[in-house]
């Protein structure tokens, strides 16, 4: 009898896809160490100039900005996502559960462009919030919401919130309710039971949610581009601008390589730092 039926059939398509993806990554890597020829799409010889150029303060600031926005967005998503996930798991009625679930999940499937455009309509100078506040007489001149870190963060949180809620809810739904009941029967109030039992046991969800929100925000392009309007720039915006406005694809490639390295470094640090908490959730 054949020990591994259809082995080649199962493995080959995946292996080929992995190979094609590797080729794309190698293409970026290869371009990142080539010289840019101004006015031409062809690339010159080998050089490390692209990477030394990145050390200029102008680019350093964009890298720092990107990291700051990623951490801020992930943290706000966690804080906002926790009550939603808790309500989703512990709601008593099926209808309420469904409403929360569909409401939370829908933005996930809308795509970056539609969501970003909606936030421009909400945050713009003639937008919803400013019109409302002006009408009510709360403010005399429109608030500067678009083109600010606050505006970009709000729109970014809207993108990452669904996935954070899903990950937190998955963790919360697998916590044995008997632990909490045990704590309460021993005299702990609901607040104490939450902070000493439920919260620590949901640590894997918190870590997974933070990590994913971080990586997703790193990948965001339309939101900082349109809501940030050139005043709040992330690495993605710089890569696009260098490629399609300056046609400096080698430099765009080297920035992508640096971004990739930074993503993996951040994820690795996160994993190292949270390892002690990961075990807390295992039961």
């Amino acid at each position: 009898m054949q020990r591994r039926p259809f082995f080649a059939l199962f493995v080959t398509p995946g292996a080929v896809t992995a190979l094609v993806f590797t080729a794309a990554l190698v293409a970026v890597l290869q371009y990142s160490v080539r010289a840019h020829i101004p006015g031409s799409l062809d690339v010159g010889g080998f050089t490390l100039e692209n990477f030394t150029a990145m050390l200029r303060p102008l680019y350093g600031r964009v890298f720092l900005n990107t990291l700051m926005l990623c951490v801020l967005t992930a943290a706000v998503s966690l804080i906002a996502g926790y009550p939603l996930a808790y309500a989703l798991v512990h709601a008593n009625s099926r209808a309420v559960k469904s409403i929360i679930l569909v409401t939370v999940v829908t933005p996930l499937f809308l795509g970056e462009v539609v969501r970003t455009y909606s936030w421009i309509v909400v945050l713009g100078n003639n937008g919803f919030i400013n019109s409302l506040l002006l009408k009510l007489g709360v403010i005399a001149t429109p608030l500067e919401l678009l083109f600010t870190v606050t505006g970009v963060t709000i729109a970014l949180v809207h993108v990452t919130l669904p996935v954070v809620v899903i990950m937190l809810a998955a963790a919360l739904s697998h916590i044995d309710p008997n632990y909490r009941k045990a704590a309460e029967s021993l005299g702990a109030g609901p607040v104490r039971a939450f902070f000493t039992v439920t919260l620590p046991l949901s640590a894997p969800g918190i870590i997974a949610g933070f990590t994913t929100a971080f990586a997703w925000t790193f990948s965001a392009f339309a939101t900082p581009q349109l809501v940030g309007g050139g005043k709040v720039n992330m690495i993605s915006n710089l890569v696009y601008q260098l490629g399609f406005a300056n046609f400096n694809f080698p430099f765009a490639a080297s920035l992508s390589v640096a971004a990739l390295a930074l993503t993996f470094l951040s994820l690795w640090i996160l994993r190292r730092a949270t390892r002690p908490f990961e075990q807390l959730g295992q039961h």
Partner: protein, 269 residues
């Protein structure tokens, strides 16, 4: 336990406010879409459907929709075949390079989309494939594959292997077991994986912006270009169509499949 009702009330208020935050842009876009004036204004002045007419008649949106369908259908179909096959390999076999291939196939979950897009753009330029659908479809396959792979893999893990053994012991050959026992049992995992892949491909933007040309641009790219050039509410009408369509699709999926089960957030007990 005097504090319990207060905490509950506070909790409910917070949840309602957060849900309001999530819905707010959709509501505001809906108001803007029916506004008669060409500039955004609140409260809207006059009721009109003309932005919807304009959205449907706009050529770039028509070709974008058409191109998006081509890319979505091809990419999700390819991803389902590749993902299902490889999930089998992962679940059943140990082989050289298993971990490497798995890592590479799941990597698009964390690799920034602009890096993937730039990579395929350079690759396409080198292979003289610019302006062809091939590069767009291949790029989308890579991006949506992790979702199919995961969905099918979870179904395979939960599959009762004794059913396959029973079929085998009754004399069924491997091919027959695969097609009459294993694959039918995997249908829910494959369908939900395909659904995720299709929706994500249709909405994918950042990588598409890099790899599409004028002739192959998908709907999100066409919408992005519109937002950059015009400020009228046509885009609001377009967004509202997207929001209503997606919400309907997800409500249906929730009713028939149980989204909670698919997303693994249902109470285990």
């Amino acid at each position: 336990m005097r504090s319990a009702p207060i905490i509950r009330l506070l909790g409910r208020t917070v949840v309602v406010l957060l849900l309001g935050f999530i819905i707010l842009p959709a509501v505001v876009v809906a108001i803007a879409a029916f506004n008669d004036r060409a500039l955004l204004a609140f409260p809207p002045e006059g009721f009109s459907l003309r932005w919807f007419v304009k959205a449907f008649e706009y050529r770039d949106f028509q070709t974008g929709f058409h191109n998006g369908l081509i890319v979505m259908l091809s990419a999700s179909a390819i991803a389902v075949v590749v993902g299902t096959a490889f999930a089998f390999a992962l679940d059943r076999y140990r082989f050289a390079g298993r971990g490497v291939i798995e890592t590479l196939l799941l990597a698009p979950l964390v690799v920034p989309h602009f890096t993937v897009g730039l990579g395929f753009l350079i690759l396409a330029a080198q292979l003289r494939l610019m302006r062809s659908f091939t590069v767009v479809i291949v790029c989308h396959v890579v991006l949506v594959l992790p979702f199919v792979l995961r969905s099918v893999y979870i179904s395979l893990r939960n599959l009762d292997r004794r059913l396959e053994l029973a079929a085998e012991s009754l004399g069924a050959r491997p091919a027959r077991v695969l097609f009459t026992v294993t694959l039918p049992l995997l249908v829910p995992g494959v369908v939900s994986g395909w659904l995720f892949a299709a929706i994500l491909s249709f909405n994918e933007f950042t990588a598409s912006l890099f790899v599409t040309a004028q002739r192959t641009q998908t709907l999100p790219v066409a919408m992005y270009n519109y937002v950059r050039e015009y400020a009228d509410p046509t885009m609001a009408a377009m967004s509202l169509i997207f929001i209503v369509g997606t919400t309907l699709l997800l409500t249906l999926a929730n009713t028939f499949f149980g989204l909670g089960r698919v997303l693994n957030v249902d109470d285990a007990r």
